[in-house]
C-alpha cells in the first residue's frame, strides 16, 4: 500500500524532471546555435563588425574589462552605489510621506493637486534641472535616482493605507486600539503587499535612472563606460558592458522577488508552511 503510493507519487515527478532536462537541453542547443551562427556570420563578413562584434570578441572584452585591466569594477561600484542610495532614499521618503499623508485626511486633501502635477511630469526631464542645481557630481546623480524611485512607493503606500478593510478598522475600533496600534498592527501590514509592488517598480527604474543620469552628466559609472566604448567604436567592450547591466538588472529583479517572498510570507504557501512548522516546534520547546 505504502509502496504503491510511493510509486504513484514518484512516477509523474520523475517524468516531469525528465521533461525539464529535455527542455533545458533544447534551450541550450538553440542558444549555442544562435551564438555559433552569429560568430560565423561575423567572421564571414556578413555582419557589420561595428554593429555586431564577434561573440568571441565580447567574451575577450569581458576578460579585459574585469580581469585584464579590471577597470569596469570601479564603474560598476559607482553605478551600484547610485542605484542603492538613490533607491533607499527615494523609497523611504516616498513611503514615509505617504504614511503621513495617509493618516491625515486634511494634509491629503491639500497635497493632492501638487502630487498629481508632479506625477504627470516626466521624471527624467527634471534631470537637467537637478544637475543645474546640484552640479555634475555624485549628489546630482543620487538625486535623480531618488526622484525616479519616489513616486511608485509613494502612490502605492498611499493606496494601501487608504484601502484598508473597513470591517478590520471597525474591529480595531471596537477593541479600543489607539492610532499607533491601528497603524502598526493593521494598516502597515495590510498595505505591505501594495508597498512591495511599488518598491519593485522603483527598483526596476532605479538602474535606468542611474544610467540616464550618467549619460547626461558624469565622468564615471557604467553609463559613462558604455558611452566611452561606443564613442571609440570598441564594440566588444560596449557589448560586454551592456551584458553586465543585463546581468545586474536580472540580479536586482531576483533579489526583489526573494525579498518579497520573505516579507510578504502570507501570500506564499511554502513560506506559511515553514513558519507554521517553526512556531509549532517553538511552542513545544517552551512547554
Amino acid at each position: 500500500m505504502a509502496l504503491a503510493e510511493d510509486i504513484s507519487v514518484q512516477m509523474p515527478g520523475a517524468k516531469r524532471a525528465g521533461l525539464d532536462m529535455d527542455r533545458v537541453a533544447k534551450h541550450l542547443a538553440i542558444f549555442v546555435g544562435l551564438i555559433a551562427l552569429w560568430e560565423i556570420s561575423a567572421r564571414a563578413g556578413w555582419l557589420n563588425p561595428l554593429m555586431f562584434p564577434r561573440p568571441s570578441a565580447i567574451v575577450q572584452s569581458f576578460y579585459v574589462i574585469y580581469i585584464g585591466t579590471g577597470n569596469a569594477w570601479y564603474h560598476l561600484y559607482i553605478t551600484l552605489t547610485e542605484v542603492f542610495i538613490g533607491f533607499l532614499a527615494g523609497s523611504i521618503l516616498g513611503i514615509s510621506l505617504a504614511v503621513v499623508v495617509g493618516l491625515n485626511p486634511i494634509v491629503r486633501r491639500f497635497l493632492q493637486p501638487y502630487i498629481i502635477v508632479l506625477e504627470a511630469t516626466p521624471r527624467i526631464a527634471v534631470g537637467p534641472l537637478i544637475i543645474a542645481a546640484l552640479g555634475f557630481g555624485f549628489t546630482a546623480k543620487i538625486a535623480i535616482v531618488m526622484l525616479v524611485c519616489f513616486f511608485a512607493p509613494f502612490v502605492n503606500t498611499l493606496a494601501g493605507m487608504v484601502n484598508v478593510d473597513r470591517s478590520a478598522l471597525e474591529l480595531f475600533r471596537s477593541l479600543r486600539a489607539n492610532k499607533w496600534q491601528t497603524f502598526r498592527k493593521l494598516m502597515l501590514p495590510d498595505a505591505a503587499p501594495t508597498i512591495m509592488a511599488g518598491l519593485r517598480l522603483a527598483m526596476a527604474s532605479a538602474l535606468s535612472g542611474a544610467l540616464v543620469a550618467e549619460f547626461i552628466s558624469s565622468n564615471e559609472g557604467m553609463g559613462v563606460l558604455l558611452d566611452r566604448y561606443t564613442g571609440s567604436l570598441n564594440m566588444g567592450s560596449a557589448f560586454a558592458t551592456l551584458l553586465s547591466l543585463t546581468l545586474l538588472g536580472f540580479t536586482i529583479f531576483k533579489s526583489m522577488e526573494w525579498l518579497e517572498a520573505k516579507l510578504i510570507y502570507w501570500r506564499n504557501d511554502d513560506a506559511m508552511a515553514r513558519i507554521s512548522a517553526r512556531k509549532r516546534v517553538q511552542m513545544k520547546g517552551a512547554k
Binding site: R173, S174, R176, D190, Y265, S276, K279, R280
Partner: protein, 268 residues
C-alpha cells in the same frame, strides 16, 4: 471550573425571572442626513444577564444599526442606551463584536489572531498563550493553532473569529450575522456550537440575523424588526428548554412560533 460557575450563573438567569438588566434602551433611534433618513425609530428594550437575544428582520430594518449603537461604534440620534448601567459613549472592553466576515489578520496565525485583543490592551503572558490555545480547542481548532487564515475554510475562519471574540473577555457578545456567509450545513453546525459555548462562558448575547428559524432556535427572546422606517415591531419570548437539539426545529410548537414572527414581518 470557571465554566461551571458561569453555567450556573446562566441557568440562574433563566430560573429567576428578574435577572440583572445588562443592556437597557429607551427610545433608541438613529437618523442620517440631518434627520431626513430614519434608520431606526425609537426602540425600547431590556436584555438580562446571560440572555441570548436575536434581532431578526429584512435588510434596512435597522438591526445592524442597533447593534453598532450598543457596540458604541456609531452614535445614536435619540433616546437613552445603557450597558451595565453606564450610558454608552464608545466601545467598551466588556462588549465584544463579531462580523459576517471573519476579518482575521492574514499575516497572523490562528493563535496570534486570537491573541490580538489582549495584545492591544496589555503585554502578553504565557498564560495568555495557554488561554488562546484553550479557546481554539473550544471552537474545535486545536489542530490549526499555527495555521494562517488563507489556509482555513470560511467556517474555520469564523471559528477563529469566535475564539478571538471570547479572548476579549467581554461578557456581552454582539454578533452581526456571524455565519451568514457560510453554507447551510456549516451554519447549522456552528449555531449549535455557538449555543454551547455561549452557555459555557455565561455571556449575554445579541445575535443579528435575517433567518427567522435561526433567530428562534438560538434565542431566549427574539426582537422582530421591520423596515422603512426601521422599527422594533415586537419582542417574542422563546419558551423552549435548553439544551436544544436540531430536532426542535421540526416540532409544531417551533413552527407555530416561526409563523408568529413571520406574521409580524409579513405586513411589510
Amino acid at each position: 471550573m470557571n465554566a461551571m460557575s458561569n453555567a450556573n450563573a446562566r441557568s440562574g438567569a433563566h430560573t429567576q425571572q428578574q435577572g440583572d438588566i445588562v443592556i437597557k434602551g429607551e427610545g433608541v433611534g438613529k437618523t442620517f442626513g440631518n434627520g431626513s433618513v430614519v434608520a431606526l425609530e425609537g426602540a425600547d428594550f431590556e436584555i438580562k444577564r446571560g440572555e441570548f437575544v436575536s434581532l431578526v428582520g429584512p435588510s434596512g430594518c435597522g438591526k445592524s444599526t442597533l447593534l453598532r449603537m450598543v457596540a458604541g461604534l456609531i452614535e445614536r440620534s435619540s433616546g437613552k442606551l445603557a450597558v451595565h448601567g453606564d450610558t454608552v459613549k464608545g466601545p467598551r472592553s466588556d462588549v465584544g463584536l463579531m462580523f459576517q466576515r471573519a476579518t482575521l489578520l492574514e499575516w497572523r496565525t490562528a493563535l496570534d489572531n486570537v491573541l490580538l485583543p489582549t495584545e492591544l490592551s496589555r503585554k502578553l503572558t504565557s498564560a495568555d498563550y495557554d488561554h488562546a490555545e484553550e479557546l481554539l480547542a473550544m471552537v474545535g481548532l486545536q489542530d490549526f493553532t499555527f495555521t494562517f487564515p488563507s489556509q482555513l475554510s470560511g467556517g474555520m475562519q469564523q471559528r477563529v473569529a469566535l475564539a478571538r471574540l471570547l479572548k476579549t473577555g467581554a461578557d456581552i457578545l454582539l454578533l452581526d450575522e456571524p455565519f451568514g456567509a457560510l453554507d447551510e450545513f456549516t451554519r447549522e453546525h456552528l449555531n449549535l456550537e455557538l449555543m454551547r459555548i455561549v452557555a459555557d462562558v455565561g455571556a449575554t448575547t445579541l445575535f443579528v440575523t435575517h433567518n427567522i428559524g435561526e433567530a428562534i432556535f438560538l434565542a431566549d427572546k427574539v426582537m422582530v424588526m421591520t423596515p422603512r422606517p426601521g422599527r422594533l415591531a415586537r419582542i417574542v419570548d422563546v419558551p423552549f428548554e435548553r439544551p436544544r437539539t436540531a430536532e426542535l426545529q421540526l416540532t409544531p410548537e417551533f413552527n407555530a412560533l416561526v409563523a408568529e414572527v413571520r406574521a409580524v414581518l409579513g405586513d411589510h
